[in-house]
Structures are given as structure tokens and as C-alpha cells.
């Protein structure tokens, strides 16, 4: 029983992390058709900002680093948009893709050159690693927090998308940006909001990633965002609900394979997970929530 609950929580917290990252990718993609391969760099920038603050400001408590980490990720997203993506907004999709790749390489090498290739310790609150006992089950605080924070973030996002003009505009822009502009809504604001949200979600994920690794390195954003891409594709790229479902599905699949695979081949877990995702995509190429064509999008 304890084992099952532990593994279920594991799946939820890993899935939550993928969901946060996949959702950030999906929001930017749905609003402006950009596949942001530099998304992982938000995590890296977040990590190094916390590291720098820890070194130079020497805070007495690690709690103070957390909001700064999130803020750094949001700022990075907004600055990337303003400096790199806005000038090429109307260019073909491949231009955006290459720009994102370029940004990603620049940021990674910046940290390699200016800081170091090897990782730097970043403290997070000790509270995160404490265990709490419910009945006979021991649970790490971090896992509970991860699930709870993901849940709250998703709920806030849902409220934003349903009840604010900017949220409605982002949903509408995913199918028809020009018509959104005909409502008098500023294109720049919609895109900026999409990036800011994407950065915020990546910042949340970054906190948990750093808490688990205890360190920042120049390539730390790569693996989680690779998984987030898989999650987003699995859910149907561009679909927000799909990103969340894809994230959790991937998290669950990882844990299930981890548990059922015999120890001798457990090291190949990711290969089995990707095989499973590949199989699903053969059955449903557009992903779980993807639509092959938008009904009612354009007629006449």
C-alpha cells in the first residue's frame, strides 16, 4: 500500500513538472506559432540567478531565493520575446525555430564561459526535503508541494483564460490572431502575456528541479524541456488541456515503467517510455487533444 501511494505521488510530481513546462510551450505556440526551443533556458537562468543571489547577497534563508528564481524566469521570457522573437514575429515558422535554437546555444555558452561547465550548488529550503508521515506512509514535502503548486497554478491559469480579457484574447489568438486585433486588443500585449505566463510556469518548475538537483549547470534545462516537448506532442501540440494531460500521462508512464521493468533493463526506462509515446502517436498522430482541422475556422 505504502509503495503504491509513494509511486502514485511520484508520478504526480513528475507529471506536474512536465505539465508546467509543456503548458508554457503550448501557450506560446498556440498564440504565435513559435516552437520555443529556448524554453529550457528559462530554467537555467532561474537557477543561475538564484545561485548568484546566494553567492553575492548571502541571504540567511533560502526561502528568499525562490521568488527571485521565478521572477528571473519571467524576466527572461519577456526579454527573449522583446529582443529576439518580436522582430521576427511575421517571419516563417522556421525562422522562429532557428532563432530559438540560437538563443538556447547563446545562453548555454554564456554560462559555460562566464560561470563554469560544472554545476554550482544552489540551496533550497530544508523544509522541502523533510518527510512527513501520514498513517504509515512517509512522504517528502517537496512531492506534496509540487503537486499542490501545479494544481494551484493550473487553476489560476484557468481563471485567467476564462475570465479576463487578456486570457480570452490568448485563447482566441490561437486560432485567429488578426481577428483578435480587430477587437482593438494589442497584439504585443497578447504575445507578451503568453511569454510571461510561459516564463512563470517554467520558473515554478525550475524551483522544483533545483530543489531535487541542489545545483545549477548550463545544460540543466535541456532534459526537462525535452520531456515537456514529448508531453506537449503527446497531448496535441498547441492544445493547453493537451499539454497538461500529456505532462501527467508522461509522468505516470515513467513511473509505471520504472516499477514494472526488471532491474537489468530499468536503465532503458526512457527508451520504453518513448516507444510507448511513439506507439500512441501512430494510433493518434494529432495527439490526445489535437485537432487535425479546426471546425468552423473558415468557411465560405
Amino acid at each position: 500500500m505504502e509503495y503504491v501511494v509513494q509511486q502514485a505521488l511520484n508520478a504526480l510530481s513528475i507529471g506536474g513538472e512536465y505539465a508546467l513546462l509543456a503548458l508554457g510551450l503550448a501557450i506560446v505556440f498556440s498564440v504565435m506559432g513559435l516552437v520555443n526551443f529556448a524554453h529550457g533556458e528559462f530554467i537555467t537562468i532561474s537557477g543561475y540567478t538564484m545561485y548568484a543571489l546566494f553567492i553575492f547577497a548571502a541571504p540567511t534563508s533560502a526561502w528568499g531565493l525562490l521568488p527571485i528564481g521565478i521572477l528571473a524566469s519571467i524576466t527572461a521570457a519577456v526579454v527573449f520575446e522583446r529582443l529576439a522573437f518580436r522582430p521576427i514575429r511575421n517571419a516563417p515558422a522556421t525562422t522562429g525555430l532557428l532563432t530559438a535554437f540560437g538563443l538556447s546555444i547563446i545562453v548555454k555558452n554564456f554560462f559555460v564561459t562566464v560561470v563554469a561547465t560544472r554545476s554550482k550548488a544552489v540551496p533550497t529550503p530544508e523544509f522541502f526535503t523533510e518527510m512527513i508521515t501520514i498513517g504509515t506512509i512517509n512522504i517528502q514535502v517537496l512531492q506534496i508541494l509540487e503537486g499542490a503548486v501545479t494544481g494551484v497554478a493550473l487553476m489560476l491559469l484557468l481563471i485567467l483564460l476564462r475570465h479576463t480579457n487578456i486570457g480570452l484574447a490568448m485563447r482566441a489568438a490561437s486560432t485567429d490572431f488578426n481577428t483578435v486585433r480587430l477587437m482593438g486588443i494589442r497584439a504585443n500585449q497578447v504575445v507578451l502575456a503568453a511569454f510571461a505566463i510561459s516564463g512563470f510556469l517554467a520558473g515554478l518548475a525550475a524551483i522544483f528541479i533545483i530543489a531535487r538537483r541542489g545545483a545549477a549547470d548550463p545544460f540543466m534545462g535541456f532534459a526537462p524541456v525535452l520531456k515537456a516537448f514529448v508531453a506537449a506532442v503527446l497531448g496535441g501540440f498547441g492544445s493547453l488541456a493537451g499539454a497538461v494531460v500529456g505532462g501527467f500521462a508522461l509522468g505516470i508512464a515513467e513511473v509505471v515503467f520504472q516499477v514494472v521493468l526488471p532491474e537489468s533493463i530499468a536503465g532503458y526506462r526512457d527508451a520504453f517510455v518513448f516507444l510507448f509515446v511513439g506507439g500512441l502517436l501512430i494510433l493518434r498522430p494529432q495527439g490526445i487533444f489535437g485537432q487535425s482541422a479546426q471546425f468552423g475556422d473558415k468557411e465560405g
Partner: protein, 249 residues
Amino acid sequence: MLSVDLLSVSYGAIRAVREVSLRVEEGEIVALLGPNGAGKTSLISAVIGLVPVASGKVMLGDVDITRKKPEDIVRLGVTMTPEGRHIFGDLTVDENLRLGAAVRKDKAGVKKDLDELLAMFPILQERYNSRAQTLSGGEQQQLAIVRAMMSRPKLLMLDEPSLGLAPQLVEQIFQLISTLRDRGVTLLVVEQNAHEALLFADRAYVLSTGQIRFEGAAGELAGSEDLMAHYLGIGAETGAPDAADAAKV
């Protein structure tokens, strides 16, 4: 209210609109007619800033709106319902209308306009919480028009409001359009369906291969079979050239 002066629009080497001048006075309903590919949509898209102006000038009252962004032009009181309606299909009727009023700060005024418009377009009241893509073609057209009206425009440009609608619905849509004038809005209506449009318009322009071929009172054009046949290539009794489109609602 709106004056377009020697406006040209180009797509690469293709000149879609060539030095077109037209005026729309306050309170008028003006029809912009012409065959498919004449440049009608390009012309009003350039007015609202969705496609770049190659040369010429667009004035709204004394404000030069040439090359302004669409969102800024809308905030000055001009809006447009695009061809093919372009309602936000994933959003509900309610959400579509809220976006229509997104630029307004007067909450009480928005509520009042919403109530009045829903009374004029009761089907939207019935379908208020439905996803817009579940509406029929005629309902979607009404939604597109009411959504545009929610920004309380001074000038509303409608691109092919009858496109894809059954004949009996076409008349209904035009009747609704003509009642919008009573709400103080000036209308520029782009249409292929010349007969219906001319019943409700005050004046008309005929555009063909990017140039204005005729301008004058709607009655003058509608009353002359020669003019209709010459400029629009249609006989008096055949109705819309897009009858094939009208069949699929």
C-alpha cells in the same frame, strides 16, 4: 467620416487595389460591390491596417489612419467583420461578445449595449453559453456583427455578410444591418450580392480589377439593368453570382 485617397495595395508584384478613392459620410450605408477578386477585401483590410498600404492616404475625420495598427484604428472607432465571419469558435457566444467590448471601460454602457443588441438578435441570447462553432452560419454571422457592434464603432465595415447564407437569411441579415444605422453607426458593406445590398444602401461603389468603375446612388445602379449588367455582369433577375455558395449554409 472616412475618406480614402488614391489608395493602392500590392501583394508582391500584384496590385490588388489601384489608386482608389472613396468617401463614406456619417450615417450612410455605402455598398462596395464587385466580382470576386476585384480587390474589395484588400481595400477594407488596408483601411483597417490588416494589410500594408502601398501608397495613398486614409483619413478618419481629420485623423490620418494610414499605416496605423489595426488595434489602434479600432480604438479610434472603426471596426470590421472579416469575410467568412471569423468568430472565435472555441469560445462561447458570451466570451466572443466580451472580447468585442474589450477596449471599453464603461461597464454600465457595455451592459446596456449588450442587452439592447441581444434584444435585436434574440438567437444569440438563446445560444449565449454555447460554443460559437456550434452555431449555424446565419447565427455566426449575427454573432460577428454584434461582436463588432460591442466596441461601439462609429464606422463598421462588413466584409461579405451574406456569404454562405441561404437566400431567406440573406434578406434577414441585411434588414438587421440596416437597423444598425439607428444605433448611430455608419456602414461600409462589401458585397458580391449586389441586388440585396443595393436595397439597403444609400450609395454604392463598384470595384473591378482593383479600380473604381462606378460610383453613385444605390437606386441609380439598382434601377438600371444596363449598369448592373455592365459593371457587375449580372442580369436583373438572376440574383447573386455566388448562388453556389448560398446553397451551403
